[in-house]
Structures are given as C-alpha cells and as structure tokens.
C-alpha cells in the first residue's frame, strides 16, 4: 500500500513513517471502536427514522422519516422538560463536584502515614456505586427503610436525625444538619473518580517547582495559585468533561431512565430518536464548555 502511493522508490520519509505507525498503534482499539461503537451508532440512527419491530428473521423496519423526532419534540411533554431539568442540574452540580474533588485530592496528595488507605477509602464509593453491589445493598438492606429514590443516598439520614433527636437538639437544627450531611454525602459519592483523576494529575507536578517556590519565599497559598492550579487546569477541563458526561448519562436521571424504559418496551425507533436528540444536547453543552475553557487552560 505504501509502495503504490510512493511515486519515487525511496525509503519512507519520517512523516510517512509516523503516519504509518500511528495507524498501526491505533488499529487494535480502532477495530473495536468500529464494531462496537460506530456500527451501533449508525444503526441507532437508522432505527430512529423507522418504526422498528422484532420480526422472525431479525428487526423489521417501516420507514417513518422524521416522525419519531416530531412526536418527541411536539407531543411528548415530559421529554423536553426532563432534558431542560437535567441541563440545570448539571450546571449546578459540576462546579461543586470539581471544587470538592480538587480539595480532597490536594489533601490526599500530602505525605502522611496511611495515605494509601485514605486514598482507597475515597475510591470505595465508586466501587460500591457501580454495578451489582449497590443493587444488592439497596434491594435487601434498605427494603424495609424509607430510602430516597436517589441512588447516592445509600446512607440512612433517618438514623442521624433520630440520634440527634435523642440528644434533644432543636428540630430546625436537626433539619439543617441532616440536609448538610445528605449533601456532603451525595457529593462525596459522585466525586470518587474525579478525585482519582486529580490525584494522578497532581502526581505529575515535579517537586522541584515547590522547592523553587519555597526558596523564593512563597507560602502554601501562593504555591497553590501559582503552581498547582495552573498545572491542574488542563485536568480541570478533562475532569469537567468526564463529570458532565457522567451525570448526563447516569442511568438514574429521568431522561436516561425514560430512554432505557423505551428500549425495554421494544420501542427501538422512538428510543433511538430521543437518545440522538439528547446526545446532541449534551454535545452542544460540552462544546460550549470546551470553547469557554480553551482560553483559560494553560498547557505547559
């Protein structure tokens, strides 16, 4: 292939060589991407413009054009409302998650005895919250207690208010405390991955930077804003994108729940159409964030 495109028979140029190596390096992963993302992606687009039913030999299609999309945007009131709600939700939550996880990552990056233990502790919610464990805990351990619908509030707030009530706290105070506790709890449950990502970014900062700073007489506060923060800023963008995608596609939010239910009801066409519109919204959101961030991010 290379020889045929190369007019003069001479050894590969450096440029050509890197190009060739690029494709070789990417090949194994790209093959998977084509099979398990690009083809499914294309077929969900095909589903979205058809009425899809399961036939004897596979899926049967009946062409609808844009009717699925029109129905969703004009008649299905809950879809648009849920999407708008989700955008608002992400706008308020993501900054808090970012600040919280930078804070915790900074703490965990200090040298102290038992820091491996502390780090594992902060990652445990990720292990518990994904997959089977949370289902088992929710289904069985909380079956007889009043659980909030939100998956992250695994811990019973009722217990805390009861203990405080026994200690004769005023009921207003109990409310404030329990809400605060519930929020910190939700926050820490959603930040496990983010903390880990920031930690891996912090580990890349050469200690010499801080040595220079301390020689120059900077205190910890200066060092944070002049060294840590600029170095972290590309990771902020990365973690931000991760958090945005993660909260938009969390299977517990109303839009995703809706889409998944539709799939389970074998309404493949309609479900694919709503998924595609939803992902266009997420894409636009991400695009806006990246555009805003691009100017503020320092690349070394």
């Amino acid at each position: 292939m290379i020889k045929s495109t190369n007019r003069k028979p001479r050894p590969m140029s450096l440029e050509r060589k890197t190009k060739w190596f690029g494709w070789v390096f990417m090949a194994p992963w790209l093959l998977g991407l084509i099979y398990f993302f690009i083809i499914p992606f294309a077929s969900s687009f095909i589903y979205s413009i058809n009425f899809v039913t399961i036939g004897e030999t596979g899926l049967d299609y009946e062409f609808l054009g844009l009717k699925n999309y029109a129905y969703m945007l004009q008649e299905d009131a809950s879809f648009v409302r849920d999407v708008v709600g989700e955008v608002k939700n992400v706008l308020t939550q993501v900054p808090i998650i970012l600040i919280y996880s930078i804070f915790v990552a900074l703490l965990l990056n200090q040298k102290f005895p038992g820091r491996l233990f502390a780090r594992s502790l902060f990652f445990i919610p990720v292990i518990i919250a994904s997959g089977l464990v949370i289902q088992i805990i929710q289904k069985d351990l909380f079956a007889n207690t009043n659980m909030r619908a939100d998956e992250s509030s695994i811990f019973q707030i009722g217990l805390i208010s009861e203990i405080l009530g026994n200690l004769n706290f005023a009921s207003d105070l109990i409310n404030i405390i329990t809400t605060a506790v519930a929020q910190i709890f939700d926050l820490s449950w959603k930040s496990g991955v983010q903390i880990l990502l920031f930690l891996s970014a912090l580990q890349r900062i050469p200690p010499t930077y801080y040595e220079v700073a301390s020689v120059e007489g900077a205190n910890a506060w200066d060092a944070f804003w002049k060294i840590t923060f600029p170095v972290l800023s590309p990771s902020c963008l990365l973690v931000g994108v991760y958090t945005i995608v993660d909260s938009f596609t969390s299977q517990t939010n109303p839009v995703m729940k809706n889409i998944i239910t539709r799939f389970n009801e074998v309404k493949y066409g309609y479900a694919s159409a709503s998924a595609i519109i939803y992902f266009i919204v997420i894409g636009a959101f991400l695009g806006a964030v990246m555009l805003l961030a691009r100017k503020r991010v320092h690349y070394t």
Binding site: G22, F25, P40, S120, F123, G131, I136
Partner: protein, 294 residues
Amino acid sequence: MLSAVKRKRIRVSKVKRLSRSPVTTFFLAFMLFVVGVFMALPMVYAVVSAFKPMEEFFVFPPRFFVINPTTDNFILMGQLMSSMWVSFERYLFNTLFVSGLSTLIYTFIAVLASYPLAKHRFPGSKVIRELIVTALMFTSAVTGVAQYIILARLRLINTYGALLLPSLASTMGVFLCMQNLTLVPDEMLESGKIDGAGEYRIWWSLVVPNIKPVVATIVIFQFQSVWNQTGHHLIFNEALKPLATALSQITSAGISRAGAGAAASLLLMIPPILVFIISQGKVMETMVNSGIKG
C-alpha cells in the same frame, strides 16, 4: 549525637515541601478525617451488615451496628452457592478470567492508541479525537440492541467474547490517556527520536513511564467495570456466567436473603479494592523517585 540530630533535621526539611503552620496542618487533617468518615460509613455498613443475624435486619428503629455478630450469612451464601449446579470456583474463574484479560488487553491497546492520537498529526486523527468524545456520551444503554445484533452475527453470543470484546472498545481509557499525554513535552519524545529510538521504543520507554498514574487509573476503571458486568442477555450457558450474575440470583429471592445478599456484596467488593490498592501503591512507589522534568 548532636550532629546526628542535626543531620536528621536537615533531611526532614528537605522532604517537607513548604512550611505550613501547625494550625493549618491540624485543620487539613481534621477536614480529611471528617470527609473520610463520610466515605467510610457505607463500607463499614456493608461489613457490619454482612455479619448481622437475620433478626437484626428487621429491628425498628434500624440499627447501624451489629449486636450479635454471626457468620451465618456467609454459611447461608455458601450453601446457596453449592446448591447451584455450577460450582462457585467456576463462576469465580469466569469473572476473574474475563476481567483480568480485558484489563490487560485494554490497558495495552488504549495506551498504544492514545500515543499517535495525542502526539502525531495525520489525516483522520482529528476525526477520531472527536469520535472519542462522542462515544463517551453514547452509552452502552443506547447502543445495546445494535451491539447484541453484531455480537450475534460474529457468533459470539454465549461465549466469553460477548463480555470481553465490547469492553475493549471503551473510549474512556483512550480519552484519559490522550488528554494526559498532551502534557508530556514534545521535546522529550523528540530527544528519543534523535537518539535513534523507533516509535515503539519511544512509546515504551518514554511515553508509558511518563503517564504511569493514568495507566494505573485505566487499570482500575477497566477491571471495575468488567468485574461488575452481569451479561444476562449475552450469556445463557450457566457454566460461562460471571460471578456477579450468580450472586444476583441469590439475592433475587427477596428479603429473606438479606443477610446472604450483604455477604455476597461484601465479597464482590474485595477484588476491585485489591486492584485499586495494588495499582495505586505501585504508582506512589514509582512517582516518589521519578520527578518529570517539564
């Protein structure tokens, strides 16, 4: 004696990065402790519940701590597992085999793919970078149906491949790796080129060591996500099903299996935590001595 103390003190001050007042140190430690307690509670709860006897699950008001710890839950779980016609070891092997293999292969191919994507400019590279972010958004919940059809065409339904292959197409690892590679200075890679290293050599000796913390993160992510896969709709042969499916079958019987469920969930948590500790430990150990010169 005095000089020894002096020398020690000098060494300590060298290790310490910036002077911090004891008040700040105390405040930071306190914050970490408070937040840490929050994080630890569910874990403690899971452990405690696994040792709760049946009656204590139904006490009202619910109690956090166990009064009469018992290992009945584990025994019951063991009995339930042994009454299934496929042995526990078989399920465990299935899961460990698939998650281990997937983690190994994926980490390798993701780090490999991210190098040209982050550091080379060639036709098509921009399209693929955009695709990665798109793929992040388009979750498996949505592509599930189409994926099933593809797996069926490849005749992979009812094999380990049905669990393994889709997990290798994940874009998260490539995305993380690529973003972190943009921070590795080009000059460093060029110096390798000038010294006569081939692309593979540059990748292995310059790229990989410089993004070790991210590689460790990918290992954790991948292991954790494959470990939790149940694959109900992909594998029907009981002997090939992963442990997560088997354990969820135990708990599907409802409230009477609360204890066994708690024991099972505790068991399921252990391997991902071990993987986390091992890979993070490796990272910390290597990063202490190898400061990257920016």
